[in-house]
Structures are given as structure tokens and as C-alpha cells.
């Protein structure tokens, strides 16, 4: 047996590991390349150019205001994207729907281009900042993580696992080795179990389950203190909740870039003790534990609806 406590990595220096998934405009403001007011002006320009699906269809003469209103009413009864609903109602055919999407894509004005257009930044500087931005975000590019075949939304689960592993090292300072993900019906209880729900393109529950020594390691790293003795359990547990919150915030930000729309619900402490956490019948339980140096328990899971 090794040391009782997991190895806590030294915190990284400025600009090193403590990066987060960001929006390009936010990165530019941080770099002082543009001001918040210029971002605002660029956003307004984007809004005049980047038409929503229905507005683009009307502008292309493929849809009337009345038909769009009918489709919006129908969406209250059936959860379908507008394009699919318009096809279902017979107002558009598949070819027209694809043509509208293609036109939206070809006319899309990105924030960087909008900033150039309003004169906030020139082309060469924009290219420079884009490269810097890519470097800043490179830490969030997903490596190959295998997911069992029966896992729904495998891409989403893959980058959820990837960001969890990365932030476990970078934010919580816990050195670990991932174990391949597996499908389970239930999880064993643990000293501290925190859950967070996600709703939207993916409906799922994210679970962070840690033994007390891992919670202590997370608290020491997150609060940057060596002695946690004076800290009440409430504070230590809050650091695990905050870890889960930051992980999912970054997952959702990355998911949006990939086209997902997801809302997250604040973390909750699950009082499970030695009991089991059963995966709800209509969901698939994806379990991705990590091995920590001293054999403590640090486990993650996603209960995902198909």
C-alpha cells in the first residue's frame, strides 16, 4: 500500500493549466484586443446578418409569416426543430430545408469577422488572435476515449469523460489513470457523492463519487490551503460540488460548439452511504472510474437517456 492520500500535483503557474473553454469574443476582451463595447457592436451586427431558420426561409421566399406562426404553434405540442416541423406540415420539402441551412451557413458572420467589419481589429491581428485562441483551447481537444457500443450520445459522453479527467488533474490536483468506461446498472455508495442534472439535447445525470481522502485532496487544491483541519465538512463538500459544477460548465460550453443545447441544474449532495445508486430504468449508466495512486476511490458516471 502506498501513502494514504493521493498525490496532489503542484498548481500550475499563470497561463499554464487553469484555462477554461471560452467563447472567442471573451478571449479577445481578456487579451485586451477589443473592448466589451466593441464586442457588443459586433454582436448587434451579427444579429442583423445571422438569420434564424424561419427568417431565412421567409427571406428566400419559401415560407410565409402565417405558415411560420402555424409551425411555432405546432412546436408547443411536439418537440421538433423548426425545419423538421415545417417539412412535417408540408410547408417545405427536404431539399428546401437543406438549401435554407446551407444559406444560413454560407452567410454566417462569425464574431471575428464582425469585429473586422466594424474596424475593431484588422485581418492580420484577427488571424494572430485566432491562433492564440486555438492554442489556449487546445487543452480541451478530446483524445480517443472508448465508449461501449450501447452508450447513447457517445460523442457527448466521450468529451464529458475527457474534460472530467483533465480538470481532475488541473483543477483538483489529483493524479490519476483512467479506466475504460463500462455500462452498469448501479453504482456503489461512497463517502461523498454529488450529482448534477443536464437537460436539453442530452438528458443525463453526472455523478462525482469520491472517498473522503480524495475530497480532502480536492479541497486543498481548490482552496489552495495545506491544512483543512479547521474547515467544516460543509466547506469540503462544497469544493466537490464546485468541481462537478466547473466540469459540467466546461462540458456544456464544448457541447455547444458541437451543436448541442444543454442546460445544467446546480449540484446536489446524494446521501447514499453504503447503499447503491441505481441507474433509472429508462437510462443507461456509463461508469468511468479512475485509478488513484493509493487505491482510494474516485469514480464518475453519466446516467444518460437514449
Amino acid at each position: 500500500m502506498g501513502a494514504r492520500f493521493p498525490v496532489v500535483l503542484k498548481r500550475a503557474s499563470a497561463g499554464g493549466w487553469f484555462m477554461a473553454v471560452k467563447f472567442f469574443g471573451q478571449f479577445l476582451v481578456e487579451q485586451r484586443a477589443v473592448s466589451a463595447d466593441q464586442i457588443l457592436e459586433a454582436i448587434r451586427l451579427q444579429e442583423t446578418r445571422n438569420l434564424k431558420f424561419g427568417d431565412m426561409a421567409i427571406q428566400m421566399g419559401l415560407l410565409t409569416d402565417r405558415q411560420m406562426e402555424t409551425a411555432h404553434k405546432a412546436q408547443r405540442r411536439e418537440d421538433l426543430p423548426l425545419g423538421d416541423m415545417l417539412v412535417k406540415l408540408g410547408f417545405l420539402n427536404n431539399f428546401q430545408r437543406e438549401a435554407i441551412i446551407a444559406k444560413q451557413k454560407s452567410q454566417h458572420l462569425y464574431i471575428g469577422e464582425a469585429l473586422v467589419e466594424i474596424g475593431a481589429v484588422d485581418h492580420s491581428k484577427l488571424e494572430h488572435y485566432l491562433n492564440e485562441f486555438k492554442l489556449d483551447q487546445a487543452a480541451y481537444i478530446t483524445d480517443d476515449i472508448e465508449m461501449p457500443d450501447e452508450v447513447p450520445h457517445p460523442d457527448f459522453c466521450r468529451f464529458c469523460a475527457d474534460i472530467t479527467y483533465k480538470l481532475l488533474t488541473r483543477m483538483a490536483g489529483v493524479r490519476h489513470r483512467p479506466v475504460p468506461a463500462q455500462v452498469v446498472d448501479a453504482l456503489e455508495g461512497n463517502d461523498v457523492v454529488v450529482s448534477m442534472n443536464m437537460l436539453g439535447s442530452v438528458n443525463a445525470m453526472f455523478i462525482v463519487s469520491v472517498s473522503r481522502d480524495i475530497m480532502v485532496a480536492i479541497a486543498k487544491s481548490v482552496l489552495e490551503i495545506d491544512d483543512i483541519t479547521p474547515e467544516p465538512d460543509e466547506v469540503l463538500i462544497d469544493t466537490v460540488k464546485e468541481f462537478a459544477n466547473v466540469v459540467l460548465g466546461n462540458v456544456v460550453a464544448k457541447a455547444q460548439i458541437k451543436g448541442y443545447k444543454i442546460e445544467i441544474v446546480p449540484p446536489e449532495l446524494l446521501e447514499v452511504g453504503d447503499g447503491l445508486i441505481a441507474v433509472p430504468e429508462e437510462m443507461v449508466g456509463v461508469y468511468f472510474p479512475v485509478v488513484v495512486p493509493d487505491g482510494s476511490r474516485c469514480e464518475f458516471a453519466l446516467f444518460v437517456a437514449p
Binding site: 497561463g15 487553469f18 467563447f23 485586451r32 464586442i39 457588443l40 460550453a253 464544448k254 446546480p266
Partner: protein
């Protein structure tokens, strides 16, 4: 010294920011409000130069509170905090409402200070 008010329901985030602010030398931590209602009261009593506020909180969330704060003081300097900072829609929404920037979590101390100083300097 510029006075900073932190608004976040998480004890962890408040403690992290307090430590960063107190170690800065030019910024003063004047208090921690746990929700939007408390934040509006403390904004009036503590008169901070800048407010760091979480986007999602119970009772009155960050976006609602930002709207109320800006309505009362259009020159208020507010930087939002979010693990969702990378979500473009959220970023656009709060910038339009008058926030000066968004701090992404996890934090990096120097970046937090650089952002707060830039906003205070009106950059």
C-alpha cells in the same frame, strides 16, 4: 484600493476570489453576498468599485441581479462569473445587459486580477 464585492452562492468560489483579491495589493475584498437580493443590499451599503457575480444563484440569479444593478446604476462595473462562460449565448446575453466581461471557471489568479484591473481602468 478598489473595493470588490463578490456575489456567489458557492462558499468555494467566494473563498477562492477572496484569496486572489486579498493577495493583489491594490484591491480590497469588501464582502460576500450569497444571492442576488443580498447583492443589491450590499451594493448600496458597501459601495464597491466593482462586483464579481455568479450567473446562476438561488433566489435571484446573476442575470436578474445584473439587470437590477444596471437599472439602478448604469455605470456599475460588473464582471460575471460562470463555468458556462464558454457558452456564446450566455456571454452575449450578459454583455448586452451591461456586464463588462465574464470570468471563466476554473479561475487562474492572475487572469482574474488582470480582468478586474482592466475593467476598473475602463479598458
Amino acid at each position: 484600493m478598489h473595493k470588490v464585492l463578490v456575489v456567489d452562492d458557492s462558499i468555494t468560489v467566494a473563498r477562492q476570489l477572496q484569496k486572489i483579491i486579498e493577495g493583489s495589493g491594490d484591491l480590497q475584498f469588501v464582502g460576500h453576498a450569497k444571492n442576488g437580493a443580498e447583492a443589491l443590499k450590499m451594493k448600496a451599503t458597501e459601495n464597491p468599485d466593482i462586483v464579481c457575480m455568479d450567473m446562476s444563484m438561488p433566489i435571484m440569479d446573476g442575470v436578474q441581479t445584473l439587470r437590477a444593478m444596471i437599472a439602478k446604476d448604469p455605470n456599475a462595473k460588473v464582471v460575471m462569473i460562470s463555468s458556462l462562460a464558454g457558452v456564446g449565448d450566455k456571454f452575449n446575453e450578459v454583455i448586452k445587459l451591461g456586464a463588462k466581461n465574464v470570468l471563466a471557471k476554473p479561475f487562474e489568479g492572475e487572469q482574474v486580477l488582470a480582468t478586474l484591473r482592466a475593467v476598473l481602468a475602463g479598458v
